[in-house]
Structure formats: C-alpha cells, structure tokens
Amino acid sequence: MEAQTIRGAMFDTDELVINMGPQHPSTHGVLRVVLRLDGEKVVDCDVVIGYLHRGIEKLSENRNWTQIILLTDRMDYVAAATSNVGYCETVEKLMQLEVPRRARYVRTILCELQRIASHCLWVGTHAMDIGAMTVFLYAFRERELILDLFEEFCGARLTYNSMRIGGLPLDIPPGWDKKVLEFCTIMDSKVDEYETLLTHNRIWLERTKGIGVISGEEATGLGLCGPALRGSGVTRDVRKDEPYAAYDEMEFDVPIGSDGDTYDRYLVRMEEFRQSLRIIRQAAQGIPEGPIVGKVPRLIKPAAGETYHAIESPKGELGFFIVSDGKSTNPYRFRVRPPSFCNLQGLRRLVRGHLVADVVALIGSIDIVLGEVDR
C-alpha cells in the first residue's frame, strides 16, 4: 500500500499542452493542432483552422457566374479541375443545360487525371511524413507528366480555369488523347513501383497498421468522405451513387477497406490509382465526336431556385449549394461543402490515444488541402 503511494507520487505526471503548426512542414499548409499530451500519448487535441480563409463564398456572391470558375481553382489547388467541374455542373443543373457527350468525356478524363495527380502528391508527402523519402521523388516525377498534359490542354499547370458552364473552353489539342493513353501505360508500372516501396515495407506496416482505427458507422456519423470513409468499409462513391460527367458509361470498381486504419486508407487510395487509369483508358479511347459546348445563353442567369450537387473529388464529396434569385447575374448564395473540412473534423477523434509521431501520419492519412478547408 505504502509502496504504491510512493510509486504514485513518483510517477505522477502532468498533462502537457504543446502547439503544432501553423508553420510546420508536416501539417501540409497552415494547420494548427493544439495537442494535450500525457507523456507521449495524445489525450485530446484542438484543431485550429482559418489561417487561409479568403472568403471565397462571400467573394463568389459578388462575382458573376463565369468569374467564379476561377475562384474554385483556389480551393483545392492540387486538383483544381475537379472543383471547376463541380461548380460548372451545379450551375448546369440549376439552368437545366444539356452538356454534349464529348465534353462530358473530356471532363471525366480531366477529373481522373486530377485524382491521380492529387494521390501522387498525397502518397509522396504521406510517405515523407513517415520517413520514406524516395516515394516523394518518384511520385512527383509522375505528377509532372500530368501537369504537362494539363499544360497542353489549357495552358496552366496549377490553377487551370479549365471548364466553362455548358462545356469546355477549347477542344482537346490533336493527339492529346494518344498522349493520355501513353501516360496510362507509364503510370501502370509506376503504381506497382510505389507499392513495392511501401505496401509490404516493415516500417510502413508498423507505422500505419492499427493507427487511427475508425468504424464505418462512426465515420459516417462524423461525415468523413472519400477514401477516408471507404477505408472503413463504407461503399460510398458519388461517381457510382449519383453519376455525373460520363461516369455512368464507365466501368470501374469502388475499393473499400476493412479495418478502417491508416493502412487501409492507404490501400484504398493505391487501388484508386488503378481504377482511375481504367476509367481514363475507357474515356480516352471512346471520346465521341461532336460539339464541346451545349446551348448556353449569352447571359448566364439561372432562374430563381436552389440546388445542391456533389461530385467525387480526390478528397471526397465536394458539394456545391447554390441559390439563384433569378434577378442578378451573381449567385445569391454560394456554398461549398469542402471534403477536406469534413475530413479534418475527424482528426480529433482519430488521434486520441496515439503517439505524437502518429499525429503526423494521421494528418497525411486524411489527405487535406488547407486551401479547401479554409476557403
């Protein structure tokens, strides 16, 4: 009894509050996490965001419908074309516009190229956070090829402004689809290469297996989306459930995990590389002839009404809720449902009980882009 008291007194520990970020390389931007630690274990954390808040929603309510496309680039800047597509599709839904099939096919290719580019960046930085430097260099080498394809398509390499309401700004350059197919052939072997570096790597397994386990039910309740939700075994993919662009004509599988840990989320994304390549092949081989823009009125002014439309961005469900008052040439209300924001909310739940080093792994695992979290 006495010995216990002494021991209790000797090892009585205080909780320590430490601050991580907002300027820290592993937080992927300007994310601040206030950690409450017991020894090296995280007891609780507070996620502080808003450092990159530019008021894109408010700004969009004061710009006309075409100018907003450019603002959507600045949200998820590693997958800008996806945001462009999401916004344009929402306005098209609001205006009940028909988009030509050719445009829908090209949109599908662009979205999937973006998914691969975004996942390349994710796998590189995630692995680097955990300590594997090589993957970063490899993944950025392939991302470069995608940026080249985009440069050829629209002239830009990061913020593309690559979409117009009703279709595409320009037709694809001659031979572009061949280059996309060539890229698919290169990428196939590269995904295997990443996997040889990580999937069975002893250190990788130790660092990711059993870290941040979350059940499917809990993940759904928390509003996680995209690979973070699918890693927990929930079959939820906007591309399948509410098809947009030309996804209803494509054949692909939705990979899901079983354990809901960091490793499963990793495996889901690795499989998504392959499924994306599969979609790109189908779309690039089958681009139909025809116009690239539908019948769009010169003045874009949707009738009064509101709508919500979601697409599957590389991070998850990217939704737009837009209200038009039917009178002005700007939206009355422009709201983005950012997938990174909703995923980041889950971080507090995920890190509890893990070590400080795992916090870094978990931030990488949910794949956030702060530009989209803060808007």
């Binding site: 006309n64 939820r236 459930d241 709508t307 039917g326 009355y332």
Partner: protein, 254 residues
C-alpha cells in the same frame, strides 16, 4: 515642426476614409474588369446597388431588390412523394410545414422547434435512414424580419442512397437546437454557420468561431456585411464604419 502634431490631427479623420476607397474600388470594377466577357455589362448594374444599400444601412438592409426568400416551388401534381416523407408526416404531426420539389430534389420545411424530432426520425426510420449529413449551411434573407435565415441540412442515406434537404427558418435570436447529437459531423458545420451568420445554435458542445479569429466582430456572410470588410481601424464596431462611409458618400455627392 510645430505643425507636425497638428498635421496628423487634421488628416486623421479622413485617413480611414481615404483608406476605404482602396479596397472598395477593386471590388466595384471587379465585375467590370472581366468586362471582355459578354455577361459583364449586366454585372455592372448588379454591383452598384449593393454599395449604397450596404452603406446606408443600420443593420438589416437588403442588398439588392427585396428578395424575401428562395422560390420554393411546391411539388407538381404528378410528382410521387417519396415514402419516407409520407411516413414522416404520419409519424410527427406538425413536423412538416411544407414540401418543395425542384430539379429532382425534395426539400422538407420544418419548424425550428421540431428539428431534433424530425432529424431523429429521418436518421432512424427504416425507410429513411439518413445517416450521413452531407452539408449544413445557411442563407441570409434580410428583408424577412420574422425569420431571417434559412438553415439547410443536406442529408444522404448510405443505405438507400437517396437524398433530401431539410430547411428551417429562424431569426437571429431564435434558438435552434444543435443536431450534433444526431450527426456528430454537424459540429464544425454548425460552428461555421455560427461564425458566418450568427445563427443561435443551442446545445452545441463547442460553439466557437472557426474560420474567423475569436475576437471578430460581426458575421461576414450576412448580406448586410460589406464585402471589403469593416477595415482594420474600425473592426471593433462595424456600425461606425458604415456611418463613416455614408458621410463620405454624401461628401462625394456634394
């Protein structure tokens, strides 16, 4: 030298005024700046009414021509009301004020006091199973004095793969029960709505600002909040800033 202490005195009041046009002017020519596009001429008339309205206002001044709310078209006669809405109407009397159907989406309008009840039914009823809160946001309609905000819940069911929107109309003071107990993911979404609109959520576990700094005054996404912000000097009280702008514009007219 003796002039110096006076000099700052004299320009001090106009200094903030002089600082104003700087952020204001990019805002106004913004739509016109992209003027190469065919839709730009129409943007011009839309932008200017916003400025006098925002400046003249004490508080609740409509930004554009009075818009009293979104068009909520009732379902057409031939639309089949989904089973879960019918059973919701049966289970909770008075839980549904109105129904709306637009562009293949159903919207249920619910009284603020009943939102928890309706939410629980929608989440748990076997034919609804809306276990996923896609989005929670608000829209500001300042001319509506009795219930200024529309709070919109976008629900999705991962079991039945269907969607519905639930809408609640509340005023600034009206308490709106938080739905974090039903969908934990509502936590940050409600914080954002509080931060941007000032909707009074009750029972929220952690109601702090989320995107704006803790000590921020005002709610940026309200329609009567100026686009270019209150300015650094007058951030303490946006109303002072509005008055200042008004006097400046009157001076310009003379």
């Amino acid at each position: 030298m003796p002039d110096d202490p006076q000099k700052p005195d004299a320009p001090a009041p106009p200094a903030p005024t002089a600082a104003r046009p700087a952020p204001a002017s990019p805002a106004a020519p913004g739509p016109a700046g992209g003027g190469a596009k065919p839709s730009a001429p129409a943007a011009k008339p839309a932008a200017p009414p916003a400025r006098p309205a925002a400046a003249a206002g004490e508080a609740h001044v409509p930004k554009a021509a009075p818009a009293t709310g979104p068009s909520e078209p009732p379902p057409p006669a031939d639309a089949v009301v989904p089973g879960f809405i019918v059973s919701l109407q049966g289970a909770i009397s008075g839980g549904v004020t109105a129904l709306s159907y637009y562009l293949r989406d159903w919207t249920i309008i619910v009284p603020a006091a009943r939102i928890l009840e309706v939410g629980r039914h929608l989440r748990d009823a076997p034919d609804a199973r809306f276990d996923y809160l896609s989005d929670l946001t608000a829209t500001d309609w300042p001319p509506r004095t009795e219930a200024r905000f529309d709070v919109v819940y976008c629900l999705y069911s991962t079991k039945h793969r269907h969607r519905v929107r639930v809408k609640v109309k509340v005023s600034e003071q009206d308490p709106l029960p938080s739905v974090t107990g039903l969908w934990p993911g509502a936590n940050w979404l409600e914080r954002e709505v509080w931060d941007m609109f000032g909707v009074n959520f009750t029972g929220h576990p952690d109601r702090r600002r989320i995107l704006m700094p803790e000590d921020w005054q005002g709610f940026p996404e309200r329609k009567d909040y100026p686009l270019e912000g209150p300015g650094e000097l007058l951030m303490e009280n946006p109303l002072d800033w509005l008055k200042l702008r008004q006097t400046k514009e009157e001076a310009e007219l003379e």
